[in-house]
Symmetry: D2
Subunit: 468 residues, 4 copies
């Protein structure tokens, strides 16, 4: 609940039959990746048709609003805005007319050299109607299409220009492509569905369409997806990957499988390791719903201490409290969560959360537990202290907002008012995920980034082994 906000979710489907309804469902399934705008673009009778607007999927893509959409290939997008502008102009998919046809772009991630690239294009006379990465992607694609007149070659060219994180779904007329940045920062996977294929941010969308998960798109890979097959093209191969660890900790749905690791299981394992690294002598283990449940169950299993749902979460909270200002957040917490007095009264407890960013919500929750009669409140956190910004699409840009920055563990414990505080270690987290440290992006917890960021440490020398 107290976690950071993610940037976007993308989906594309090619099928022997109409894809509109399946795209709509896919976006509902990945709604958690972006609640600011939603959109679908399909290719039909030689042109693109798009419905996109600010709002949630169910509000923007109603049965009425999409009734006129038809197409056997299409892309979809849900957006959480990391940029300042919330203009509906930025709603995606972004659609442009080009010399090689109508193009739709759906993007998840952050192009870190956006200013550089846009500056270059503008200097050559180009103008930009939006401030979205997607319009830049279209411009870069256009340049390379003008050079190569071949989508795959053009996308390989793009892969060489774009820096940062990107999971892209691109439609050029009726051809559908997916591509993932060279380090695989953002997730993207391929599934088989009845009559076709889907390319989407999370595998749970494949399940919801009663489809079959095929595989993740590889970092640096371009995939052309057709209704009856898909054709992969490896554009860039780095020795290491840099999967965002927060996908497993918090962002992704627990029922998704990201780069070969089941999210729910990773979270339970985080809880188990946390119970070993930071044990506590308490009467019960409580999650912060909804995101802390799997971690708490793991903690309960490893510790042998009873799991209890000691917080009541208002099931209308997502509707009710998505809008309030920063200043109203603390107040909103009490509308959103209420401790169950009979459960917590007189008890010593561990509460488990996925992460601490600002710590304000947690502070309020602990205070509510004390008012309800809790005897001891011990906080255990499923990710190491967040101390550095994310430049790849997560809404954590400023160091100032991190409570762990410039405070010792004990100070943070005192700030939030806990009896004890324990974070999982970086090693513990890596073990829970089950991937080599070298294949994860841990930038926000260790300050080392996979790509160059002005003023930040770069994790490794870029050693490209591209195929062009």
């Amino acid at each position: 609940m107290s976690g950071p906000n993610h940037s976007c979710g993308v989906a594309g489907i090619a099928s022997a039959s109409d894809v509109v309804s399946s795209l709509q469902k896919s976006l509902m399934i990945i709604q958690h990746r972006g609640q600011e705008s939603a959109g679908i673009t399909v290719f039909d009778k030689g042109e693109l048709q798009t419905v996109r607007d600010n709002g949630l999927v169910h509000a923007v893509l109603t049965d009425e609003s999409i009734a006129h959409l038809r197409g056997k290939v299409g892309v979809g997008h849900v957006r959480y805005s990391t940029a300042s502008s919330k203009s509906v102009l930025n709603a995606q998919p972004m659609t442009v007319g080009t010399g090689f046809g109508a193009v739709a772009v759906a993007h998840n991630g952050d192009i870190t050299n956006y200013d550089e690239l846009v500056g270059g294009y503008k200097a050559r006379g180009a103008s930009f109607l939006t401030e979205s990465d997607s319009e830049l992607v279209a411009a870069v694609l256009g340049k390379h299409m003008a050079l190569h007149n071949d989508p795959v070659k053009a996308m390989k060219g793009m892969m060489g220009e774009l820096e940062g994180s990107f999971a892209l779904v691109i439609m050029i007329n009726d051809r559908l492509f997916g591509m993932r940045d060279p380090y695989g920062l953002m997730p993207l996977c391929i599934g088989g569905i009845e009559g076709g294929h889907i390319i989407v941010s999370e595998s749970a969308a494949v399940d919801a369409l009663n489809g079959t998960f095929i595989r993740d798109v590889a970092p640096g890979e371009i995939v052309e997806v057709m209704h009856d097959r898909f054709v992969p093209h490896q554009a860039v191969t780095h020795r290491h990957k840099a999967h965002c660890m927060f996908e497993w900790v918090y962002f992704a749905r627990p029922d998704s499988v990201i780069d070969g690791r089941e999210v729910y299981d990773v979270r339970k394992r985080i809880g188990e390791i946390l119970a070993k690294e930071c044990p506590a002598d308490v009467d019960m283990i409580m999650p912060i719903p909804d995101s802390g449940r799997a971690h708490a169950i793991g903690f309960s299993i490893a510790s042998g201490i009873q799991y209890e749902e000691g917080f009541m979460k208002n099931r209308f909270a997502e509707r009710t409290f998505i809008l309030p200002d920063q200043s109203e957040r603390e107040l909103a917490v009490s509308m959103k969560m209420n401790p169950i007095k009979s459960t917590v009264k007189g008890k010593r407890m561990v509460i488990v959360d996925d992460s601490i960013v600002r710590g304000t919500t947690l502070k309020k929750l602990i205070s509510m537990l004390r008012v309800a009669g809790a005897k001891e409140v011990h906080v255990r956190v499923g990710s190491p202290p967040v101390v550095a910004p994310c430049y790849y699409g997560v809404d954590m840009r400023s160091r100032d907002q991190f409570v762990a920055n410039g405070h010792t563990l004990d100070e943070v414990r005192d700030i939030i008012g806990a009896d004890s505080l324990g974070y999982i270690s970086i090693e513990g987290l890596i073990a829970a995920i089950g991937k080599p440290e070298g294949d994860l992006c841990l930038g926000c917890v260790n300050g080392k980034y996979p790509t160059r960021i002005p003023g930040e440490a770069e994790r490794f020398q870029s050693t490209l082994m591209s195929d062009f």
Copy 2:
């Protein structure tokens, strides 16, 4: 999740300072009791001011929409329509001008002799602009005020005319009253808050306002609530009560305390008794989120079998899926819930739900579990089979909709596709609630109703011991 829909929530506050914001918060906390319309009426400068409309509290009662409301006494309402009409005319609080002042009525329940009473009033020349119980309540109140010219006497008169269930909050100019039907079918409680008192459907609202729970309003009691005190008047005393058992099973928030029983604890106890009455040899216990969690934890404790969150519930589900037609419900289930494959694959499991009405959702969920690889799926239900209609405000009017009606246990098990099926017994439920059978309304599970209902068995002879 699969439970029936409730009718309404009510709140009233009298304070030394402005009550608008507190009423708004109270309604957010009891939003689960009605999502169709919301409203607040306050008394200020000699007249009532009202904001009410169709929609959720956060949408109807925005900071902007209520900015002009001021008052030290007010009432609020959230409504789930049991009647056909969804006209905004029926939005509550209902406000009327009368010979004794401006009156606002907020009602939870169903007046079972509505037709009789309305018919009588119409025959004497009265006309009704709405088909809401509240307008009838105003008419009955008006008649008795014309006779007695005293609110308490008039409400005692009302208590003698109205049959069925009613938890009423009534404001007459700046005087605030609560009253509860003679059997206490619907909940209503009193709390002390900073500077005043609240009278509200559920105690969780008192907590959310940092208030102190005082006591439940007694069945048949009228309470006048003032900022600095409250004055009770016992209008009718029956030997028995008839609290709706579904409040503990499903309706009320787990953090509320209803008529002296903590809801979360009752639910856990239901799970424990269920584990004893209907044990199962399985690998894990899974709740149907969100409503089955406490029951499942109780089952896990009593059985010693591991609790797991095997379903991922879409946290936007409340927004997304509140509207679909009956025919779209099955489809909607897969948008709302997804089994976590890695957790359920190859496992034998108990899934715990609060109740079964139609059984369609459960059938779909079980089928999804099987697709995800579940080896055995055993269903355990926290309430006895629902076989009879509710006439007191719950949206279960027709026997035809109950899957348990006309089917044996084994047949229901086969219909939903479970490996085994177990309901808690009526005795078990009574024990879990911890009240005498005679003090509960079990009409929907045993067909015996506390008040006369044409064509239905009446539970007991009315033995009034009223004070007038």
Copy 3:
């Protein structure tokens, strides 16, 4: 343009076929009588169906919104609110359930003894949900139906209780009635249309339905309208009538015929008489569009001076400027009207308007003419000075707002900045209308009212010759 605002328009149709579309059209035609809310109620399959909301007819009664309405009898209403409350609760037709069926009431006018009557009903225990005359009408009707159980007798009873102005269209189940107050203050007429009959505020609506005007409803008359005939009942007969003179001067459409007098012709005749009563030595005659055109043409004919359209009226003005505050009105004038420089420059002119209430608009227009180079601006007004309030439904309640009150003719001329100012005389107006003075309501220009108004002079002793 600068005239007062009217209160309402009403319509009812009984037909052998569906009436919804015809009602919708009728209301569009009488839209000028009320722009605040619009509504239609039809009787179908034993019950009333209603669509009503705040807004203009085309916005409230869209083809979509009324698609579900069906019925062979129905009533419609457009409302301009004279009361403070703009609540959608007050939108008409008002529909109520009664002991004798479902009733819909559409009302034009003002019940002057509203407070007295409502007070009496409240004292007997009745409550009122709205502050609209129509709910009172329903209550009065209900009382008399309870006594007589016959609609015509009940309406005769109503005629004895209600004071003030009322043109009512009332539907009791599938029976449709029209009635007009004893002095005929508000217009109401009957027309034959294909397959049925219409009863409506203005005859232009009959034309727009390609129907045939039959006759005006007589003052004090009740008419039952059926698809194949209509049955009149004379309830009250006064020696004199009191038709509102402003209907001919300003309110009614120029293409309507009110109580036997063609509106456009009356206006031209006003202009002709005005030219004789207040001649001017000028180069051209200009109307204030749109309402002053017919008067100006009459003036031009009688004076032999050239007619010119020297003001450009923004044809979006009705949309654009309906909302501004009083304080923004002067500014709004320049958005709404612009003098045509080449036409007015260096010219002496008469500008003709229907009436002067506040005079602020006229003052601004004259100043604009001077800026545009007009040499002389002479104002001629198609109604005598408005000096007294209207109690019958026109939005002129306070003496303070009338510029003619407490100012001499010369003072008013100076206030508005004209070179000369001339009003038609009361005699001239009476002559132009062509009815005896005794049959007109001239209350706002001579302060004598047809009914008792506390504190105002009554025009004649009520000499009822009712038939009961």
Copy 4:
């Protein structure tokens, strides 16, 4: 009323103080030039701020919606869509980021070589998010800015690339420019207002701001507008001009002065010449309101026959009837207009309209006059028969829609059901306008176009005498 639809209106203001409110007013005044979308862009604190949306000015640019806009320079736009797409993406002003700053473009007209130009840009890798001329204008401007790095030089370059009609208001950061196509097809003028200057489609907007008309922008001229002065640059000078004659006949407001000719006076003169060219022996002259009034007054003056307002036009018609389908138009006519029976009955009349395109409205009006008892109906038209498409921004693209195409005068008379029909001659129209034939665009009435149009006759050889 029955005239064609225009494409757009533009405005730009540079002032020593805030321009937002003045822009809002200007757009209200030129609202008749486009009702589909409206928008304002201002430059403030180094960036552009824009409010634009589909809808009328008063609905899009409300006091609330523009409250946050501030700026001493800004542009505004109202749009009537000639293209198929009504996407809000096409709402103007179009704003783009470029290498030389933030640019806003407001465009009136049609770029006839749009496809050619866009094709060329796309071939070089550019992509286009919209199908609006304005994005193309931005791209062309961008190219020339990259070459010259000087706005005036760049606009001169644009003038050489763009074909067709264009009146452009362009803001580059805080510099404001106006430019008009080499033939001056679309109007554009400069005015002085308090504290600054305005550049706008019609002079009436200058009047409404209490400003002073300075002069028209010359064809082929670029003007930089500053708060305290303006700097003209003549980019292209053609021997002839080609002002659209329909501006005087119908499009422009009667209170505007276009290229030195007062619109109202031209219209009156048209009526006078028409009366001489096509006299009629009738009892009265009637305009089709609102657009035919000035023509009818001229006809009345020249013929000495009485002017009458025989049609009542519903003053809510603009709101009510802007949406209906083609198929509903005939029906809508009777909602919009009603003959005044007492005026037309038994009379012989001329009805004067500005133009005939399809003739369907006129046919319906004549039929209504006959039903109302008109004895003879003679139609006189203020423009010659429209027989050829307009390629410069007017919504008359297909020859099939013109009733005058392929029908003789007598046939058209019979189609519309008139007793006689007379159009003004081309010579008469030219005389009324008072400009040489060579300086007018008469393409739609003589089929000769000032610029090359594939498949159409070109009026004259382009003989450029540009200054670069």
